[in-house]
Amino acid sequence: MTIYNFYLFDRNGTCLYYTDWNRKKQMTMSKEEEFKLMYGMIFSIKSFVSRLSPTDMKDGFLNYSTSKYKLHFFETPSGLKFIMNTDLSVGSMKDVLHQMFSSIYVEYVVKNPLCALDQPITSELFKNKLDEFVRGLPQFAVKPGS
């Protein structure tokens, strides 16, 4: 199991934070372009899913898998979007993403009056805590040789 990378978007589509751990294929476009593309895709998937759902949805879009990776999505009612890519063997990351929101974003960004809420996060404390948290997850373990 492994975690590749992480995106955090605000309600206006600004990428507040991006980081990667085991991303093997480097991006072929600029970061800004990639963020826009990612946000656009998430936005479209959300609207697809809600329009095409034959029943009333509670959670909406949670994740998708390709043959190579799995994308996990969590959105707060305030419109923050937490996105994480992992390999296929990882189960639901909903609780983990919620925890990243409640015990890292809220604690180290919202409660830090010097962090603007609509700007990319520059706080070192936040970066370190997030990194520490993700590296400590059981889903993070990289299989030797993989």
């Binding site: 309600r11 206006n12 589509g13 826009k36 946000y39 656009g40 936005f43 509670k58 707060t76 009612p77 305030s78 419109g79 923050l80 919620h98 929101f101 409640s102 015990s103 974003y105 809220v106 604690e107 919202v110 409660k111 809420l117």
Partner: protein, 180 residues
């Protein structure tokens, strides 16, 4: 709301008097700094708004309530969960308009005004106006544009403190910017 308070246990157990007195000092300073009560009200509302915008994230993280489907559910969450969590009291929700887009929060006691008497000459001051701003800011972050104001205030001789909330409109999600 400090991180230390969080570590030490339940932040609700922070001395309530400290909060009340700090708020009192803030209002007293604003009265000194500004010429009239209207401006003080405006500043309190603005500060409240800035607090509400952040407080909503803390609230969502702790209460873990999902999205509200209608304004009645919103009213319930505000009164029974949010007021309880941050001020330790549960206002009564009443006076619904027939269209269901307006209601009142009735507070029998207001923790902010525990030690307060309004001196003469401040009849326009809404002492607890910070609450209005906080409610407005928090609701705006969950896509609701709401008008919040005081209609009755125990400090002004009314029997009860009444905050009126009026739903104005639903704010839409931002659409991603197109390719240039």
């Amino acid at each position: 709301m400090s991180r230390q308070a969080n570590r030490a246990g339940d932040p609700r157990k922070v001395n309530g008097e400290l909060f009340t007195l700090t708020y009192g000092a803030l209002v007293a300073q604003l009265i000194k700094d500004y010429e009239n009560d209207e401006q003080v009200n405006k500043q309190l509302d603005k500060m409240g708004y800035n607090m509400g915008v952040r407080l909503i994230e803390d609230f969502l993280a702790r209460a873990n309530t999902g999205r509200c489907n209608d304004f009645r559910e919103t009213a319930d969450v505000i009164a029974k969960v949010a007021f309880k969590l941050y001020l330790g009291l549960t206002p009564v929700v009443s006076n619904w308009s027939t269209t269901g887009d307006e209601f009142s929060l009735l507070l029998e006691s207001n923790p902010l005004t525990e030690f307060v008497e309004l001196p003469p000459g401040h009849s326009n001051l809404n002492y607890s106006n910070l609450l209005c701003g906080a409610l407005r800011g928090a609701l705006e972050m969950v896509q609701m544009d709401v008008d919040v104001r005081f209609v009755q205030d125990i400090l002004k001789g009314d029997n009860i403190t009444e905050i009126r909330l009026k739903f104005i409109k639903r704010l839409e999600d931002a659409v991603p910017v197109g390719e240039d």
